[in-house]
Symmetry: C2
Subunit: 307 residues, 2 copies
């Protein structure tokens, strides 16, 4: 895939350790959903392939760079079943590798030769980082629904929105279509994160690759927890987590069971479905083509995946 | 100053803690040499003031972001006599604040509406970060002169070069002038870092704001140390530092005295002067005006400053 190749090339001739780090990170895989969204959206609108490949690589590298710094911050040792950079390197090297990947992502974005795209790119990075700062300073406080929406927008939907919006911008379509493409990206991004947050409660540790309810354990309240709290505001375990008290494993598992048994998961799923429906509706207004069909499949896959 | 205002505004409405962090960082001052170089160079060539102010703020924020991550990596608690971010915040918040400032710098750079400028901006960030990675993985090995030149180019001259080159690019001048402006920036940047490295040996702890020979203590060999080593390859203290052995304070101070007494400082000074002379020569080919006069003063100041 040409996107892979372009990403890999970004550390060439720079520094052997950076090259190794980038190679390791890219080998860890990931589903490359964002590049796919860029290529399919731009393809649907007849955009220039060369530019779309560059944009796709830029977006995926931006995503990779934020993951590198995230894993460092969380002290995570595994991502996608592979060792994180920070588990093998010093924090110093990890910070710098993230910075390096940011720089290469920005370079690629600049190669699209669109300053508006560059501005949106930088603005999206700002949104993502501001969201992380907000989360850092506000975990262990029950957030409002609006805060949750803002958080998943910053964390995930902002980048999906960037993918579809900029892919459309690089294509011969008018402003109305660009705006609808943006909205489509927003919707699939929101759905993507919502489903992630649901799977954190419904999945098994083996398939999740991390303990169940990992957000809740860190005092981060996602939509299922928020809905559960609306119905059962006096749950003692929730209270302890909110106060930052340590909670026994058995109590966590009981709480997870309670959330699963409540209507919280169903309500969260309905919310994800409503984003998916909006996305499918936007899609149906785009030109009928094989790319659109793939985007429809991808959109439906988002809600039915098991990670 | 309009550059200050523009920099300060970059955290508005984002997050109170980011706003506070940015305010703290900008209040720590710094000499704002890079914005001055941008404004004077562009002013000399009749560039658009609005664009130059934007570029100046972008460059200074890029510089600030790299310092934030640097201080975190070095575990430094003071910079310019003020508490560093990482001395008061968690590493997580410090990493993210640096990322945030990168994002804002990129946004401002994109606002200059020049994609070539954006590419150079991203390329310079790549150079700076690659230089830091190289230093991280190669300290405690005696570098060659060419490695030293590469290191100070990455650390300092690349950004000065970016300042003068892009300021000229935003002005109504031809390619030859842009290239000469780039070379001028390169020369003052190299001189700037060389003088910094000299002052690390000749300065007093009180004015340096850090212990004398701080680089050497970390196993980083700058030009005075390289020259000294050429003349005295068998100095035992140098040998211990190279092997990463702990060295007593008294031995360090004796070594500093020996370097001061040797011709190493004089030779390093001559090197800095030769960059300054080249810079002054390039300057003399530019239009005579008050900005050029200020740049000449600034260039001369670089070599005579005491920090």
């Amino acid at each position: 895939m040409r996107v892979e190749e372009l990403m890999r090339k970004q550390a060439d001739d720079r520094h052997p350790d950076l090259e190794a780090a980038l190679k390791h990170l890219l080998a860890s895989g990931g589903k490359r959903i964002r590049p796919a969204v860029v290529l399919l959206t731009g393809g649907m609108f007849g955009g220039d392939q060369e530019l779309l490949v560059t944009l796709a690589a830029a977006v995926e590298l931006l995503h990779t760079a934020t993951l590198v710094h995230d894993d460092l911050i969380d002290g995570a040792f595994l991502r996608r079943g592979m060792a994180t950079l920070n588990s093998r390197w010093s924090p110093a090297a990890t910070v710098l590798t993230g910075d390096f990947i940011f720089a290469r992502a920005a370079k690629l974005a600049a190669c699209t030769d669109s300053t508006i795209l560059m501005q949106l790119f930088a603005e999206t990075l700002t949104t993502i980082v501001t969201g992380e700062v907000t989360q850092l300073f506000s975990s262990r406080s029950l957030v409002q629904r609006a805060d949750y929406d803002r958080r998943i927008y910053a964390k995930t939907a902002s980048l999906f929105e960037l993918c579809t919006r900029t892919a459309a911008m690089l294509s011969p379509v008018d402003e109305t279509v660009v705006e609808r493409a943006r909205r489509f990206g927003y919707a699939i991004g929101m759905a993507f994160q919502l489903v992630d947050d649901i799977l954190d409660f419904t999945g098994q540790q083996a398939t999740l690759g991390k303990p169940v309810a990992s957000d809740l354990r860190q005092g981060i309240f996602t939509l299922p927890a928020l809905y559960y709290n609306e119905s059962y505001p006096d749950d003692p375990t929730m209270g302890l987590i909110l106060q930052g008290e340590s909670v026994e494993e058995s109590a966590i598992l009981r709480l997870v069971e309670a959330i699963r048994a409540s209507g919280a998961i169903r309500r969260a799923n309905e919310q994800a479905e409503s984003y998916i429906n909006q996305a499918l509706q936007d899609l149906s207004s785009f030109p009928e083509c094989v790319e659109r069909q793939s985007l429809e499949e991808l959109t439906r896959f988002l809600i039915h995946r098991e990670m």
